[in-house]
Symmetry: D2
């Protein structure tokens, strides 16, 4: 499995009573299969990972694998509070068909970098799947620093990082110093182009749930040296991306999906649905971005 390209961190569809809505997931998958997406992250932050039981995570991965076959590499969120719980979940996710594990650092008890290192190493040593580090300081309050990441990158079973910290200097240092075979992914569509410019292998982009075509066009423009076009696409993606991630979160993403022919649906409480005013603002931002022309697969 190669970590490369444009990944969507897919949201988890729920019915109105809060249970998993697998038929809607399948419908979304059929659409994404027609899109230029390169891979999927299941049970990440956009998948409301803290709200999912281990058995639900396995069921989601199994459903995605069964429906989409080998179309996508599947990275599955495997974070659990204990090392043992993470390993148990890892085994379930492997059985269900995942290709790699996405792992946050332990973060309720803070202040022990050696404990963070041990956690990743223990899981990488014993889990049946390779590990992708997940740096998400806005949610965890913990920033994985470059020294720790680069030291973990030497582990043969730790294969990459999704860095959502937003520090482009850190991302550049990682790209410059990482060992061969360790993938660097940016974790937000807010800075996909600058991440590519400094050498990132790809991105796990919330906005790619809706605009993988535009993301792909940005990447092609970048690769072919059409920088003005790439920049213009980044400017337009940024406005939508920011609205459905930092500003309005998963409820915002789901609301926009509901308006664009995909299934978004409700979040699990305590996440609240986007208010009508929020939805209005998101649709306004989305309308101004004029990005639908790249998304034939959604029609």
């Amino acid at each position: 499995m190669e970590l490369k390209g444009i990944y969507a961190p897919i949201p988890t569809p729920f019915t109105s009573d809060g249970s998993l809505d697998l038929p809607s997931l399948r419908t979304n998958l059929d659409a994404w299969t027609r899109s230029p997406l390169d891979g999927l992250v299941v049970c990440g932050s956009n998948g409301e990972q803290p709200f999912l039981e281990p058995e639900e995570r396995a069921l989601l991965v199994r459903t995605v694998r069964d429906r989409s076959g080998s179309r996508f590499p599947l990275v599955a969120g495997a974070t659990q509070p204990t090392t043992r719980g993470t390993l148990e979940l890892a085994r379930r996710l492997a059985d269900a068909g995942a290709d790699a594990l996405l792992l946050l650092p332990p973060h309720y008890f803070k202040g022990d970098p050696e404990g963070i290192r041990d956690y990743f190493v223990d899981v990488a040593d014993h889990a049946p799947l390779p590990v992708v580090l997940y740096n998400m300081p806005a949610n965890t309050g913990v920033n994985l620093g470059t020294d720790l990441i680069l030291s973990l990158a030497e582990h043969p079973r730790i294969r990459g990082i999704k860095d959502t910290g937003g520090d482009i200097t850190q991302l550049t240092v990682l790209c410059a110093r990482r060992p061969e075979g360790f993938a660097v992914f940016c974790g937000s569509g807010n800075y996909f182009l600058p991440a590519l410019a400094v050498g990132a292998d790809g991105g796990t982009l919330g906005v790619a749930n809706l605009y993988p075509g535009a993301c792909d066009a940005l990447r092609s423009a970048f690769r072919e040296g059409r920088m003005k076009e790439a920049r213009d696409l980044q400017h337009r993606l940024l406005e939508v991306s920011d609205a459905i991630t930092r500003r309005h979160g998963v409820p915002g993403l789901k609301a926009l999906m509901d308006h664009k022919g995909l299934y978004g649906g409700p979040c699990r409480p305590p996440l609240r649905p986007a208010s009508p005013e929020t939805v209005r603002r998101i649709l306004e931002v989305d309308g101004k971005a004029h990005l639908d022309e790249w998304e034939e697969w959604r029609r």
Copy 2:
């Protein structure tokens, strides 16, 4: 149930293979029963709450209730990521004999104060036990502000707060403006005396697992206006308290318990045992504080 006095947030004893060690818990309880402690918090941060399954939490509360009867009011940590999960756990904890629920705010997805309010209100409306708010920004990255706390304090089923934020101004505002019947507890032995000075009803103090006698002596000195004595006790408690909370965490607390005739034992990974060097430093701090004379119950 009245929230008042000195509570110990008890650690959860584990065997070397990581399972619950209920016999050791009972041994500790028998000791605490002889102490001047007023109440217990089970499955709080010192109880490694994020590492405990719902069924384990119920079993811990049941064990404490069975062993200590009505000796202590029991506040049980009931935080779960979803509202539904919190309510399910609340029912189990009520069945197991808890008197109140200790609830962190939702904190993985940040930035929605209304969502935090709704969560507490939903649980307070539907749970079988009264709610105690738990403000722990160092661990959660979320600070419950005074306006939110005071608005929640109007709810008849929200009965108090354990504030571990360390902002004495906020604690004072809460004491000054709270409605009758809403208890304010400080959440650290680092500032038990200043908290009493500004009007707190009590404290949930990690250091009270070992030094409830000294905490009680401080409180008596304060009540009787022997401020110099109270201050001297606070100075000495602070050094130990800081060592086994902020500085060295639950592993530090457990290590010191192991050296003082109680059962500490290992934490669940990814928490790592205190290193020999750390233990040496904790024992040095503890030795210099000369606090054992107040702890007849431990002999």
Copy 3:
């Protein structure tokens, strides 16, 4: 000179064209002389220190000394960006009649604790007056930690600290471990009582510009073990204190002074005058606190 008791960090009066208004300063001084204040801080943060030229600072100190004679110990803000500039200013302030220097750490260029130590030591070694450290992280972005403070406290010419950091644990550690003769002052009326409780020698309190009588009554109640009365006074002082410091700053303090028979007047731009709405809110808070009965000197 002994550092002890209740100090007012006096604001600097300006005329409407922004020049020093020494007659109004003298009028205020005559009033404060009748109050129970123990000392004055001239050219501190409430004195708009960054906006004052060295010659203005000297003139302010000279004016205060001439008008109030030996009634008050005078601590003068001597911070300048360079070590050399600080020493030059220190000499002027000494000539003008100051008793001690209040010194912020260097803070534009951050991240060199040894540089901070060197700065304080260089000034203490060569200045003609003793030094009082000034910890004000909200304004400087630099927190002086306990280890650095306690190490500086060993210097025979560094005689105390005004700590406005708001961390009661840090204040307690300082009180517990400081060498004899090193004074610990809290820097805000928000937590004067808890600071006394943990052993502070006094406070430099913005609110003491207006309510030194209430501050003095709080201190007496504390000393005599009337803790309920002390607490009640703290609760009332806190509301006013917070309004004229953290919430509305020097413009808020000056506005309230203008309403209470002292001279406040305008700040120097870019500080803007308190808006009418802000003034209304401050007066409301002040009215509810009912603190004027302790302030005979102001009538």
Copy 4:
């Protein structure tokens, strides 16, 4: 005057007794004149601006203008604590030959965004030179947000921003939404390439004091779509840039200049000289970057 391209924020040379060393400044200028630099920032952070008196700033600008004629546009640091002081300094700097003013927001007293806006507008309205905003949150503790910047960008005399905040998303938003004629400069060589990728007009880069040729080569590679070459240059520049800015500051920059044929010299205390160990590490980083081949002008 057009703001565009690669600017060096030049350090201020001092003699060993701390006075301005204008001959050394002229020597450096003669070298920079031969380099591909597009412009200079005088009296910025790298120029130790807080340590310079107004008359010194004027003398520095005059010296640079006299020596380098019209070779470079000159942006001069004009920040003073008061609005009045800033305007007085602005007039001096205009007389001395500056082309534009670089202005930090007021930052000792925090928390009044309207006050920040008023300050910039007052100076822009009345100063004899156009204004460039300077966002430097690491030093000031104040982040100018995108809404404030974009609103100020509408002022006809506010002509650009040097953003050293390091938030690539903010930089992208500024590039996407700014009005015509408002320049966006990145303020660190750590992320020059990503800044160009999202549309920045140039950079004020500490590393450009030493490596303007490499910066220029990066820009050319970027413009001509040779992204791999641009990325490789960014990776190498980053290591040096980070060492002489965030990690070791102005003392580090000056030390490296002393080793590369330019005049660095001492900083003004309280800034301390780089330790021998620090210098050794900087030289090691510099040696590994192999950037000298682009710097014919320095030979």
